[in-house]
Protein backbone atom coordinates (compact mmCIF):
# COMPACT_ATOMS: atom_id res chain seq x y z
CA UNK A 1 0.00 0.00 0.00
CA UNK A 2 1.48 3.33 -1.08
CA UNK A 3 1.48 5.64 1.98
CA UNK A 4 0.94 8.86 0.04
CA UNK A 5 -1.94 7.42 -1.97
CA UNK A 6 -3.41 5.98 1.20
CA UNK A 7 -3.18 9.38 2.89
CA UNK A 8 -5.01 11.02 -0.04
CA UNK A 9 -7.80 8.44 0.24
CA UNK A 10 -8.05 8.86 4.00
CA UNK A 11 -8.03 12.64 3.49
CA UNK A 12 -10.94 12.43 1.05
CA UNK A 13 -12.94 10.46 3.58
CA UNK A 14 -12.02 13.06 6.20
CA UNK A 15 -13.43 15.83 4.00
CA UNK A 16 -16.58 13.84 3.36
CA UNK A 17 -17.14 13.07 7.07
CA UNK A 18 -16.65 16.73 7.95
CA UNK A 19 -19.10 17.70 5.22
CA UNK A 20 -21.66 15.25 6.62
CA UNK A 21 -21.00 16.54 10.12
CA UNK A 22 -22.12 20.02 9.10
CA UNK A 23 -25.67 18.61 9.07
CA UNK A 24 -25.43 17.41 12.66
CA UNK A 25 -26.16 20.86 13.98
CA UNK A 26 -29.40 22.63 13.13
CA UNK A 27 -27.99 26.11 13.69
CA UNK A 28 -25.06 25.36 11.44
CA UNK A 29 -27.34 24.22 8.62
CA UNK A 30 -29.38 27.43 8.82
CA UNK A 31 -26.43 29.79 9.27
CA UNK A 32 -24.00 27.96 7.02
CA UNK A 33 -26.11 26.95 4.07
CA UNK A 34 -29.53 28.56 4.02
CA UNK A 35 -29.12 32.11 5.30
CA UNK A 36 -27.17 33.68 2.43
CA UNK A 37 -29.25 32.15 -0.40
CA UNK A 38 -32.50 32.99 1.43
CA UNK A 39 -31.38 36.60 1.89
CA UNK A 40 -30.46 37.14 -1.75
CA UNK A 41 -33.54 35.30 -3.02
CA UNK A 42 -35.77 37.46 -0.87
CA UNK A 43 -34.16 40.71 -2.07
CA UNK A 44 -34.22 39.51 -5.68
CA UNK A 45 -37.90 38.65 -5.43
CA UNK A 46 -38.77 42.06 -3.99
CA UNK A 47 -36.95 43.91 -6.76
CA UNK A 48 -38.32 41.73 -9.55
CA UNK A 49 -39.86 44.68 -11.41
CA UNK A 50 -36.78 46.94 -11.55
CA UNK A 51 -33.98 46.81 -14.07
CA UNK A 52 -30.28 47.68 -13.81
CA UNK A 53 -29.53 51.16 -15.12
CA UNK A 54 -28.26 51.14 -18.68
CA UNK A 55 -28.57 47.51 -19.72
CA UNK A 56 -32.15 46.58 -19.09
CA UNK A 57 -31.10 43.51 -17.12
CA UNK A 58 -33.63 42.64 -14.38
CA UNK A 59 -32.27 43.90 -11.05
CA UNK A 60 -33.25 40.60 -9.38
CA UNK A 61 -31.03 38.64 -11.74
CA UNK A 62 -28.13 41.05 -11.17
CA UNK A 63 -28.52 40.68 -7.40
CA UNK A 64 -28.56 36.89 -7.65
CA UNK A 65 -25.25 37.07 -9.53
CA UNK A 66 -24.03 39.26 -6.65
CA UNK A 67 -25.21 36.54 -4.27
CA UNK A 68 -23.21 33.85 -6.05
CA UNK A 69 -20.13 36.10 -6.01
CA UNK A 70 -20.56 36.91 -2.33
CA UNK A 71 -20.92 33.24 -1.52
CA UNK A 72 -17.65 32.42 -3.26
CA UNK A 73 -15.91 35.27 -1.43
CA UNK A 74 -17.24 34.26 1.97
CA UNK A 75 -16.35 30.61 1.48
CA UNK A 76 -12.84 31.47 0.33
CA UNK A 77 -12.06 33.99 3.05
CA UNK A 78 -14.18 33.81 6.20
CA UNK A 79 -14.93 30.08 6.15
CA UNK A 80 -11.35 29.07 5.42
CA UNK A 81 -9.81 31.52 7.88
CA UNK A 82 -12.17 30.34 10.59
CA UNK A 83 -11.44 26.67 9.97
CA UNK A 84 -7.68 27.10 9.75
CA UNK A 85 -7.53 29.45 12.74
CA UNK A 86 -9.65 27.42 15.09
CA UNK A 87 -8.23 24.03 14.10
CA UNK A 88 -4.72 25.29 14.70
CA UNK A 89 -5.80 26.43 18.13
CA UNK A 90 -7.99 23.55 19.27
CA UNK A 91 -5.60 20.72 18.45
CA UNK A 92 -7.23 19.37 15.29
CA UNK A 93 -4.14 20.18 13.27
CA UNK A 94 -1.85 18.72 15.92
CA UNK A 95 -3.74 15.43 15.87
CA UNK A 96 -3.03 15.18 12.17
CA UNK A 97 0.62 15.85 12.83
CA UNK A 98 1.07 12.91 15.19
CA UNK A 99 0.03 10.28 12.65
CA UNK A 100 2.20 9.30 9.67
CA UNK A 101 1.37 11.28 6.52
CA UNK A 102 -1.25 13.08 8.56
CA UNK A 103 -0.56 16.50 7.05
CA UNK A 104 -1.21 15.19 3.54
CA UNK A 105 -4.48 13.74 4.79
CA UNK A 106 -5.35 17.00 6.52
CA UNK A 107 -4.69 19.15 3.45
CA UNK A 108 -6.63 16.83 1.14
CA UNK A 109 -9.43 16.61 3.67
CA UNK A 110 -9.76 20.37 4.01
CA UNK A 111 -9.75 20.85 0.24
CA UNK A 112 -12.42 18.23 -0.30
CA UNK A 113 -14.49 19.65 2.56
CA UNK A 114 -14.36 23.07 0.93
CA UNK A 115 -15.29 21.64 -2.47
CA UNK A 116 -18.29 19.66 -1.20
CA UNK A 117 -19.53 22.47 1.00
CA UNK A 118 -19.16 25.05 -1.77
CA UNK A 119 -20.94 22.82 -4.28
CA UNK A 120 -23.93 22.47 -1.99
CA UNK A 121 -23.98 26.17 -1.05
CA UNK A 122 -23.81 27.21 -4.70
CA UNK A 123 -26.53 24.74 -5.67
CA UNK A 124 -28.80 26.17 -2.96
CA UNK A 125 -28.27 29.62 -4.46
CA UNK A 126 -28.44 28.67 -8.14
CA UNK A 127 -31.31 26.22 -8.33
CA UNK A 128 -34.04 28.30 -6.63
CA UNK A 129 -32.63 31.41 -8.33
CA UNK A 130 -32.96 29.90 -11.79
CA UNK A 131 -36.48 28.71 -11.05
CA UNK A 132 -37.78 31.87 -9.37
CA UNK A 133 -35.83 34.84 -10.69
CA UNK A 134 -36.52 36.29 -14.10
CA UNK A 135 -33.39 36.78 -16.24
CA UNK A 136 -31.15 34.67 -13.95
CA UNK A 137 -30.16 31.55 -15.90
CA UNK A 138 -27.07 29.58 -16.74
CA UNK A 139 -26.37 30.72 -20.31
CA UNK A 140 -26.47 27.39 -22.14
CA UNK A 141 -23.65 24.84 -22.21
CA UNK A 142 -21.07 27.58 -22.63
CA UNK A 143 -22.48 29.35 -19.56
CA UNK A 144 -22.37 26.14 -17.52
CA UNK A 145 -18.74 25.57 -18.48
CA UNK A 146 -17.90 29.20 -17.68
CA UNK A 147 -19.67 28.95 -14.32
CA UNK A 148 -17.76 25.78 -13.42
CA UNK A 149 -14.31 27.14 -14.17
CA UNK A 150 -15.03 30.56 -12.70
CA UNK A 151 -16.16 28.97 -9.41
CA UNK A 152 -13.18 26.63 -9.19
CA UNK A 153 -10.64 29.26 -10.18
CA UNK A 154 -12.24 31.82 -7.82
CA UNK A 155 -11.93 29.51 -4.84
CA UNK A 156 -8.35 28.68 -5.82
CA UNK A 157 -7.56 32.39 -6.03
CA UNK A 158 -9.23 33.37 -2.74
CA UNK A 159 -8.80 30.37 -0.45
CA UNK A 160 -5.03 30.91 0.00
CA UNK A 161 -5.77 34.41 1.32
CA UNK A 162 -8.23 33.02 3.84
CA UNK A 163 -5.78 30.30 4.86
CA UNK A 164 -2.93 32.77 5.37
CA UNK A 165 -5.10 35.10 7.44
CA UNK A 166 -6.41 32.17 9.50
CA UNK A 167 -2.93 30.90 10.29
CA UNK A 168 -1.61 34.34 11.26
CA UNK A 169 -4.46 35.41 13.54
CA UNK A 170 -3.72 35.05 17.21
CA UNK A 171 -7.38 34.74 18.11
CA UNK A 172 -9.47 33.22 15.34
CA UNK A 173 -12.80 34.31 16.78
CA UNK A 174 -12.29 38.05 16.89
CA UNK A 175 -9.81 38.02 14.00
CA UNK A 176 -12.25 36.58 11.51
CA UNK A 177 -14.62 39.42 12.31
CA UNK A 178 -11.88 41.88 11.40
CA UNK A 179 -11.37 40.09 8.10
CA UNK A 180 -14.98 40.89 7.23
CA UNK A 181 -14.14 44.60 6.94
CA UNK A 182 -11.69 44.46 4.02
CA UNK A 183 -13.75 41.77 2.31
CA UNK A 184 -16.89 43.90 2.51
CA UNK A 185 -15.04 47.07 1.57
CA UNK A 186 -13.51 45.47 -1.46
CA UNK A 187 -16.82 43.94 -2.44
CA UNK A 188 -18.43 47.37 -2.24
CA UNK A 189 -16.05 48.97 -4.75
CA UNK A 190 -15.68 45.98 -7.07
CA UNK A 191 -18.97 46.12 -8.91
CA UNK A 192 -20.49 43.19 -7.10
CA UNK A 193 -23.48 44.92 -5.54
CA UNK A 194 -23.41 48.13 -7.60
CA UNK A 195 -22.24 48.33 -11.23
CA UNK A 196 -18.57 49.32 -11.16
CA UNK A 197 -19.27 52.02 -13.76
CA UNK A 198 -20.67 54.28 -11.01
CA UNK A 199 -17.29 54.28 -9.19
CA UNK A 200 -14.68 56.98 -9.81
CA UNK A 201 -11.99 56.01 -12.32
CA UNK A 202 -9.12 55.59 -9.86
CA UNK A 203 -11.25 53.27 -7.69
CA UNK A 204 -12.07 51.19 -10.76
CA UNK A 205 -8.36 50.77 -11.38
CA UNK A 206 -7.68 49.77 -7.78
CA UNK A 207 -10.56 47.29 -7.80
CA UNK A 208 -9.18 45.58 -10.87
CA UNK A 209 -5.96 44.68 -9.06
CA UNK A 210 -7.86 42.44 -6.64
CA UNK A 211 -9.60 39.16 -7.47
CA UNK A 212 -13.05 40.24 -6.24
CA UNK A 213 -13.92 42.24 -9.36
CA UNK A 214 -12.90 39.40 -11.65
CA UNK A 215 -14.86 36.79 -9.69
CA UNK A 216 -17.96 38.93 -10.05
CA UNK A 217 -17.38 39.54 -13.76
CA UNK A 218 -16.91 35.83 -14.45
CA UNK A 219 -20.06 34.92 -12.53
CA UNK A 220 -22.12 37.54 -14.38
CA UNK A 221 -20.83 36.24 -17.71
CA UNK A 222 -22.16 32.79 -16.84
CA UNK A 223 -25.59 33.64 -15.41
CA UNK A 224 -26.76 36.96 -16.93
CA UNK A 225 -28.09 37.55 -20.45
CA UNK A 226 -25.42 38.38 -23.02
CA UNK A 227 -26.88 41.86 -23.39
CA UNK A 228 -25.62 42.77 -19.93
CA UNK A 229 -22.02 42.73 -21.20
CA UNK A 230 -22.69 46.20 -22.56
CA UNK A 231 -22.96 47.49 -18.98
CA UNK A 232 -19.47 46.21 -18.08
CA UNK A 233 -16.37 48.42 -18.22
CA UNK A 234 -15.16 47.35 -21.66
CA UNK A 235 -18.57 46.35 -22.99
CA UNK A 236 -17.45 42.70 -23.09
CA UNK A 237 -17.11 39.83 -20.58
CA UNK A 238 -13.29 39.82 -20.77
CA UNK A 239 -13.21 36.10 -19.96
CA UNK A 240 -9.53 35.60 -20.89
CA UNK A 241 -8.63 38.40 -18.47
CA UNK A 242 -10.86 36.85 -15.77
CA UNK A 243 -9.01 33.56 -16.17
CA UNK A 244 -5.58 35.21 -16.25
CA UNK A 245 -6.03 37.45 -13.19
CA UNK A 246 -7.58 34.70 -11.07
CA UNK A 247 -4.90 32.21 -12.12
CA UNK A 248 -2.20 34.71 -11.18
CA UNK A 249 -3.74 35.21 -7.75
CA UNK A 250 -4.07 31.45 -7.32
CA UNK A 251 -0.43 30.78 -8.16
CA UNK A 252 0.90 33.62 -6.04
CA UNK A 253 -1.47 32.79 -3.20
CA UNK A 254 -0.49 29.14 -3.16
CA UNK A 255 3.19 29.96 -3.05
CA UNK A 256 2.68 32.19 -0.01
CA UNK A 257 0.06 30.00 1.65
CA UNK A 258 1.98 26.75 1.53
CA UNK A 259 4.97 28.50 3.12
CA UNK A 260 2.87 30.11 5.86
CA UNK A 261 0.89 26.94 6.53
CA UNK A 262 4.01 24.79 6.74
CA UNK A 263 5.47 27.20 9.24
CA UNK A 264 2.26 27.16 11.24
CA UNK A 265 2.12 23.35 11.23
CA UNK A 266 5.74 23.11 12.32
CA UNK A 267 5.10 25.45 15.20
CA UNK A 268 2.00 23.72 16.50
CA UNK A 269 2.54 21.63 19.62
CA UNK A 270 0.75 20.39 22.68
CA UNK A 271 1.92 23.23 24.86
CA UNK A 272 0.80 25.84 22.33
CA UNK A 273 -2.63 24.24 22.15
CA UNK A 274 -2.66 24.23 25.93
CA UNK A 275 -1.74 27.90 25.98
CA UNK A 276 -4.54 28.77 23.57
CA UNK A 277 -6.91 26.78 25.73
CA UNK A 278 -5.94 28.67 28.84
CA UNK A 279 -6.28 32.00 27.06
CA UNK A 280 -9.70 31.00 25.80
CA UNK A 281 -10.76 29.95 29.30
CA UNK A 282 -9.68 33.33 30.61
CA UNK A 283 -11.59 35.17 27.92
CA UNK A 284 -14.55 32.94 28.51
CA UNK A 285 -14.96 31.83 24.87
Amino acid sequence: MNPALNAVRVGLSRGWIEFKNTFGNFGEVIGGYLLTPALFLAIALFTADSTVEGGGTPLGAFLMASGVTMLLLLLGTITIAQVVGSEREDGTLLRSRVVPDGMVGYAVGKTWYLVTMSALSLALMLVPGIILIDGFAVQGVAGAVTLAWVCVLSLLAIAPIGAVVGSLLSNPRTGVGLLMLPVMGLTGVSGVLLPIAVMPGWLQTVAQVFPVYWVGLGVRAAVLPGSHAAAELTGTWQLPQVAAVLALWAVGGFAVAQWVLRRMARKTSGSRVQQAREQAMQRGY
Binding site: M1, N2, P3, N6, A7, R9, V10, S13, R14, I17, E18, N21, T22, G24, N25, E87, D90, G91, T92, L94, R95, R97, V98, V99, P100, D101, G102, G105, T268, S269, G270, S271, V273, Q274, R277
Partner: protein, 323 residues
Protein backbone atom coordinates in the same frame (compact mmCIF):
# COMPACT_ATOMS: atom_id res chain seq x y z
CA UNK B 1 27.74 19.22 44.78
CA UNK B 2 24.07 18.41 44.65
CA UNK B 3 24.08 18.62 40.87
CA UNK B 4 26.99 16.28 40.57
CA UNK B 5 25.26 13.78 42.80
CA UNK B 6 22.02 14.00 40.84
CA UNK B 7 23.90 13.43 37.64
CA UNK B 8 25.76 10.47 39.06
CA UNK B 9 22.45 8.85 40.00
CA UNK B 10 21.24 9.35 36.46
CA UNK B 11 24.45 7.93 35.06
CA UNK B 12 24.34 4.92 37.33
CA UNK B 13 20.94 3.98 36.00
CA UNK B 14 21.94 4.77 32.46
CA UNK B 15 24.93 2.47 32.57
CA UNK B 16 22.83 -0.46 33.70
CA UNK B 17 20.75 -0.10 30.56
CA UNK B 18 20.96 -2.84 27.95
CA UNK B 19 21.16 -2.02 24.24
CA UNK B 20 17.37 -2.33 24.07
CA UNK B 21 16.67 1.26 25.02
CA UNK B 22 13.58 2.89 23.54
CA UNK B 23 14.69 6.37 24.59
CA UNK B 24 18.20 7.62 25.28
CA UNK B 25 18.84 11.26 26.10
CA UNK B 26 22.24 12.73 26.93
CA UNK B 27 22.94 16.31 27.93
CA UNK B 28 19.70 17.69 26.53
CA UNK B 29 19.55 21.47 26.67
CA UNK B 30 16.83 23.88 25.70
CA UNK B 31 16.99 27.65 25.77
CA UNK B 32 14.23 30.07 24.95
CA UNK B 33 16.14 33.26 24.35
CA UNK B 34 18.27 33.66 27.43
CA UNK B 35 16.05 31.45 29.59
CA UNK B 36 17.41 27.97 30.14
CA UNK B 37 14.54 25.52 30.46
CA UNK B 38 16.56 22.30 30.26
CA UNK B 39 20.17 22.29 31.47
CA UNK B 40 21.56 18.91 30.59
CA UNK B 41 18.88 16.26 30.97
CA UNK B 42 19.97 12.61 30.89
CA UNK B 43 17.33 9.93 30.74
CA UNK B 44 16.76 6.44 29.45
CA UNK B 45 13.71 4.26 29.00
CA UNK B 46 14.13 0.57 28.30
CA UNK B 47 11.75 -1.24 25.99
CA UNK B 48 8.58 -2.25 27.77
CA UNK B 49 9.28 0.03 30.70
CA UNK B 50 6.81 2.56 32.11
CA UNK B 51 8.69 5.70 33.06
CA UNK B 52 7.15 8.71 34.77
CA UNK B 53 8.66 12.13 34.34
CA UNK B 54 7.62 13.91 37.50
CA UNK B 55 8.15 17.54 38.35
CA UNK B 56 6.58 20.83 39.36
CA UNK B 57 4.75 22.89 36.75
CA UNK B 58 7.22 24.72 34.60
CA UNK B 59 10.02 22.24 35.24
CA UNK B 60 10.33 21.49 31.52
CA UNK B 61 8.45 18.19 31.35
CA UNK B 62 6.35 19.15 28.36
CA UNK B 63 9.34 20.67 26.59
CA UNK B 64 11.26 17.43 27.08
CA UNK B 65 8.41 15.31 25.76
CA UNK B 66 7.83 17.57 22.77
CA UNK B 67 11.49 17.28 21.85
CA UNK B 68 11.26 13.48 22.10
CA UNK B 69 8.10 13.50 19.96
CA UNK B 70 9.89 15.49 17.29
CA UNK B 71 7.70 18.58 17.66
CA UNK B 72 10.33 20.91 19.01
CA UNK B 73 13.93 21.56 18.03
CA UNK B 74 16.43 21.27 20.89
CA UNK B 75 19.31 23.63 21.65
CA UNK B 76 21.89 20.91 22.37
CA UNK B 77 22.36 17.30 23.38
CA UNK B 78 21.93 13.82 21.99
CA UNK B 79 18.48 12.32 21.65
CA UNK B 80 17.64 8.87 20.36
CA UNK B 81 14.05 7.64 20.18
CA UNK B 82 13.53 4.13 18.76
CA UNK B 83 16.90 4.35 17.05
CA UNK B 84 16.24 7.71 15.38
CA UNK B 85 16.93 11.35 16.15
CA UNK B 86 13.40 12.80 16.52
CA UNK B 87 14.49 15.94 14.66
CA UNK B 88 14.93 13.71 11.60
CA UNK B 89 12.13 11.21 12.23
CA UNK B 90 10.34 10.16 9.04
CA UNK B 91 6.76 8.96 8.61
CA UNK B 92 7.66 5.33 9.29
CA UNK B 93 9.26 6.38 12.58
CA UNK B 94 6.14 8.38 13.39
CA UNK B 95 3.94 5.32 12.83
CA UNK B 96 5.82 3.54 15.64
CA UNK B 97 5.04 6.27 18.14
CA UNK B 98 1.76 7.01 19.86
CA UNK B 99 0.92 10.34 21.44
CA UNK B 100 -1.95 10.75 23.86
CA UNK B 101 -2.76 14.44 23.61
CA UNK B 102 -4.91 16.49 25.87
CA UNK B 103 -8.01 17.09 23.87
CA UNK B 104 -9.99 20.22 24.13
CA UNK B 105 -12.69 20.94 21.62
CA UNK B 106 -11.16 19.46 18.49
CA UNK B 107 -13.32 17.14 16.36
CA UNK B 108 -16.34 17.99 18.52
CA UNK B 109 -18.77 17.12 15.71
CA UNK B 110 -17.12 13.75 14.97
CA UNK B 111 -18.49 10.43 16.14
CA UNK B 112 -16.10 8.41 18.28
CA UNK B 113 -15.89 5.45 15.91
CA UNK B 114 -15.42 7.61 12.81
CA UNK B 115 -12.54 9.48 14.42
CA UNK B 116 -10.63 6.47 15.75
CA UNK B 117 -11.12 4.64 12.47
CA UNK B 118 -9.97 7.70 10.49
CA UNK B 119 -6.68 8.14 12.33
CA UNK B 120 -6.08 4.38 12.35
CA UNK B 121 -6.17 4.25 8.57
CA UNK B 122 -3.07 6.44 8.30
CA UNK B 123 -1.07 3.63 9.97
CA UNK B 124 -2.17 0.85 7.63
CA UNK B 125 0.74 1.17 5.15
CA UNK B 126 3.21 0.85 8.03
CA UNK B 127 2.10 -2.55 9.34
CA UNK B 128 5.01 -4.83 10.18
CA UNK B 129 5.26 -8.59 10.56
CA UNK B 130 4.09 -9.36 14.09
CA UNK B 131 2.77 -5.84 14.49
CA UNK B 132 -0.41 -5.39 12.47
CA UNK B 133 -1.42 -1.76 12.15
CA UNK B 134 -3.87 -0.30 12.96
CA UNK B 135 -5.85 -1.98 15.73
CA UNK B 136 -9.32 -3.11 14.78
CA UNK B 137 -11.40 -0.06 15.66
CA UNK B 138 -14.26 -1.90 17.35
CA UNK B 139 -11.96 -4.15 19.37
CA UNK B 140 -9.99 -1.16 20.55
CA UNK B 141 -13.11 0.75 21.55
CA UNK B 142 -14.42 -2.32 23.36
CA UNK B 143 -11.17 -2.76 25.27
CA UNK B 144 -11.39 0.87 26.38
CA UNK B 145 -15.02 0.50 27.43
CA UNK B 146 -16.26 2.85 24.73
CA UNK B 147 -18.63 0.53 22.81
CA UNK B 148 -21.70 2.38 23.99
CA UNK B 149 -20.23 5.73 22.99
CA UNK B 150 -18.95 4.63 19.59
CA UNK B 151 -21.73 6.41 17.69
CA UNK B 152 -21.87 9.43 19.93
CA UNK B 153 -20.37 12.75 18.95
CA UNK B 154 -17.32 13.83 20.93
CA UNK B 155 -18.98 16.97 22.26
CA UNK B 156 -21.54 14.83 24.11
CA UNK B 157 -18.95 12.80 26.05
CA UNK B 158 -17.95 13.20 29.69
CA UNK B 159 -14.39 14.20 30.58
CA UNK B 160 -13.39 10.63 31.40
CA UNK B 161 -14.89 9.25 28.20
CA UNK B 162 -13.21 11.94 26.16
CA UNK B 163 -9.89 11.06 27.79
CA UNK B 164 -10.37 7.43 26.80
CA UNK B 165 -10.91 8.57 23.22
CA UNK B 166 -7.58 10.39 23.47
CA UNK B 167 -5.99 7.14 24.59
CA UNK B 168 -7.66 5.23 21.74
CA UNK B 169 -6.21 7.75 19.27
CA UNK B 170 -2.76 7.38 20.82
CA UNK B 171 -2.95 3.59 20.64
CA UNK B 172 -4.72 2.94 17.38
CA UNK B 173 -1.46 2.59 15.42
CA UNK B 174 -0.23 -0.08 17.88
CA UNK B 175 2.77 2.02 18.92
CA UNK B 176 6.01 0.66 20.33
CA UNK B 177 6.38 3.80 22.38
CA UNK B 178 3.56 5.78 23.90
CA UNK B 179 3.75 9.34 25.25
CA UNK B 180 1.19 10.39 27.85
CA UNK B 181 1.30 14.06 28.78
CA UNK B 182 -0.44 14.82 32.09
CA UNK B 183 -2.91 12.01 31.41
CA UNK B 184 -5.34 12.54 34.28
CA UNK B 185 -5.49 16.33 34.54
CA UNK B 186 -9.10 17.36 34.97
CA UNK B 187 -10.46 13.89 35.73
CA UNK B 188 -12.56 13.11 38.77
CA UNK B 189 -11.13 10.53 41.22
CA UNK B 190 -13.16 7.64 39.80
CA UNK B 191 -12.20 8.40 36.21
CA UNK B 192 -8.63 8.79 37.36
CA UNK B 193 -8.60 5.33 38.97
CA UNK B 194 -10.16 3.81 35.85
CA UNK B 195 -7.50 5.47 33.79
CA UNK B 196 -4.69 4.06 35.93
CA UNK B 197 -6.14 0.56 35.54
CA UNK B 198 -6.32 1.07 31.84
CA UNK B 199 -2.65 2.02 31.55
CA UNK B 200 -1.66 -1.05 33.59
CA UNK B 201 -3.69 -3.31 31.37
CA UNK B 202 -2.23 -1.86 28.20
CA UNK B 203 1.35 -2.12 29.29
CA UNK B 204 0.86 -5.66 30.59
CA UNK B 205 -0.72 -6.92 27.40
CA UNK B 206 1.48 -5.29 24.79
CA UNK B 207 5.18 -4.74 25.24
CA UNK B 208 4.71 -0.99 24.95
CA UNK B 209 7.18 1.49 26.37
CA UNK B 210 5.41 4.37 28.07
CA UNK B 211 6.75 7.79 29.01
CA UNK B 212 4.25 9.78 31.00
CA UNK B 213 4.52 13.20 32.55
CA UNK B 214 2.74 14.20 35.70
CA UNK B 215 3.09 16.58 38.60
CA UNK B 216 1.41 14.12 40.93
CA UNK B 217 3.74 11.83 42.86
CA UNK B 218 0.98 9.37 43.78
CA UNK B 219 0.17 8.94 40.13
CA UNK B 220 3.81 8.37 39.23
CA UNK B 221 4.15 5.78 41.99
CA UNK B 222 1.01 4.00 40.87
CA UNK B 223 1.81 3.82 37.18
CA UNK B 224 5.53 3.77 36.67
CA UNK B 225 8.29 1.20 36.97
CA UNK B 226 10.67 4.07 37.33
CA UNK B 227 10.24 7.70 38.37
CA UNK B 228 12.42 10.52 37.09
CA UNK B 229 12.11 13.80 38.91
CA UNK B 230 12.75 16.85 36.75
CA UNK B 231 13.42 20.11 38.56
CA UNK B 232 15.42 23.19 37.73
CA UNK B 233 16.03 21.86 34.21
CA UNK B 234 17.75 18.67 35.34
CA UNK B 235 16.87 15.15 36.42
CA UNK B 236 17.40 15.32 40.19
CA UNK B 237 16.30 11.77 41.03
CA UNK B 238 15.93 8.54 39.12
CA UNK B 239 14.73 5.18 40.37
CA UNK B 240 11.72 3.11 41.37
CA UNK B 241 9.40 4.83 43.81
CA UNK B 242 10.60 2.44 46.53
CA UNK B 243 14.20 3.19 45.82
CA UNK B 244 13.58 6.92 45.88
CA UNK B 245 11.73 6.60 49.17
CA UNK B 246 14.64 4.73 50.68
CA UNK B 247 17.01 7.47 49.53
CA UNK B 248 15.05 10.23 51.16
CA UNK B 249 15.83 11.72 54.55
CA UNK B 250 18.82 9.98 56.05
CA UNK B 251 18.23 12.06 59.16
CA UNK B 252 15.25 11.14 61.28
CA UNK B 253 13.79 13.29 63.98
CA UNK B 254 13.30 11.69 67.41
CA UNK B 255 11.04 13.47 69.91
CA UNK B 256 10.30 12.33 73.46
CA UNK B 257 9.51 13.61 76.95
CA UNK B 258 11.16 12.88 80.21
CA UNK B 259 9.55 14.18 83.39
CA UNK B 260 7.25 16.50 81.41
CA UNK B 261 10.10 18.11 79.44
CA UNK B 262 10.00 17.66 75.66
CA UNK B 263 13.19 16.85 73.73
CA UNK B 264 14.08 16.74 70.03
CA UNK B 265 17.08 15.12 68.40
CA UNK B 266 18.08 14.54 64.78
CA UNK B 267 19.96 11.36 64.02
CA UNK B 268 21.11 9.06 61.22
CA UNK B 269 20.34 6.00 63.29
CA UNK B 270 17.09 6.43 65.21
CA UNK B 271 16.95 2.81 66.42
CA UNK B 272 20.27 3.01 68.22
CA UNK B 273 19.42 6.43 69.63
CA UNK B 274 16.10 5.22 71.03
CA UNK B 275 17.78 2.16 72.55
CA UNK B 276 20.23 4.55 74.26
CA UNK B 277 17.38 6.66 75.59
CA UNK B 278 15.76 3.65 77.22
CA UNK B 279 19.04 2.52 78.71
CA UNK B 280 19.45 5.93 80.27
CA UNK B 281 15.89 6.79 81.39
CA UNK B 282 14.02 3.52 81.36
CA UNK B 283 10.24 3.90 81.57
CA UNK B 284 10.54 7.64 82.25
CA UNK B 285 10.60 8.12 78.45
CA UNK B 286 7.12 9.05 77.22
CA UNK B 287 5.53 10.42 74.00
CA UNK B 288 8.29 8.85 71.91
CA UNK B 289 8.03 9.60 68.18
CA UNK B 290 10.42 8.92 65.31
CA UNK B 291 9.69 11.05 62.25
CA UNK B 292 11.22 10.26 58.91
CA UNK B 293 10.33 12.62 56.07
CA UNK B 294 8.53 10.69 53.33
CA UNK B 295 9.26 11.04 49.64
CA UNK B 296 5.93 12.79 49.41
CA UNK B 297 6.88 15.45 51.94
CA UNK B 298 10.22 16.11 50.32
CA UNK B 299 8.59 16.28 46.91
CA UNK B 300 5.77 18.58 48.02
CA UNK B 301 8.34 20.88 49.53
CA UNK B 302 10.14 20.95 46.17
CA UNK B 303 6.90 21.73 44.33
CA UNK B 304 5.88 24.47 46.71
CA UNK B 305 9.22 26.19 46.61
CA UNK B 306 9.50 25.87 42.83
CA UNK B 307 6.12 27.49 42.42
CA UNK B 308 6.97 30.32 44.75
CA UNK B 309 9.79 31.27 42.39
CA UNK B 310 12.77 29.60 43.99
CA UNK B 311 13.03 26.74 41.51
CA UNK B 312 16.81 26.48 41.27
CA UNK B 313 17.56 26.45 44.99
CA UNK B 314 14.65 24.10 45.62
CA UNK B 315 15.96 21.68 43.01
CA UNK B 316 19.46 21.77 44.44
CA UNK B 317 18.26 21.14 47.97
CA UNK B 318 15.96 18.39 46.85
CA UNK B 319 18.91 16.67 45.21
CA UNK B 320 20.82 17.10 48.46
CA UNK B 321 18.07 15.47 50.46
CA UNK B 322 17.56 12.55 48.16
CA UNK B 323 21.13 11.42 47.98
Amino acid sequence: MADARARSVAREVAHGVPAEAAITVRGLRMNYGTTEVLRGVDLTARRGEVVALLGPNGAGKTTTVEILEGFRARSAGEVDVLGTDPARGDERWRSRIGVVMQSWRDHAAWKVRDLVDHFGRFHAPYAEPGRPRPYDTDELLASLGLEEQSHKRLRTLSGGQRRRVDVALGLVGRPELLFLDEPTTGLDPQARRDFHELVHRLTDEDDTTVLLTTHDLAEAEKLADRVLILAGGRIVADGSADRLSSLVGMQSEVTWSVGGVRHVHATDNPARYVAGLYREHGDAVTDLKVLRPSLEEVYLDLVQRSESGDADRAAAEFAEEIR
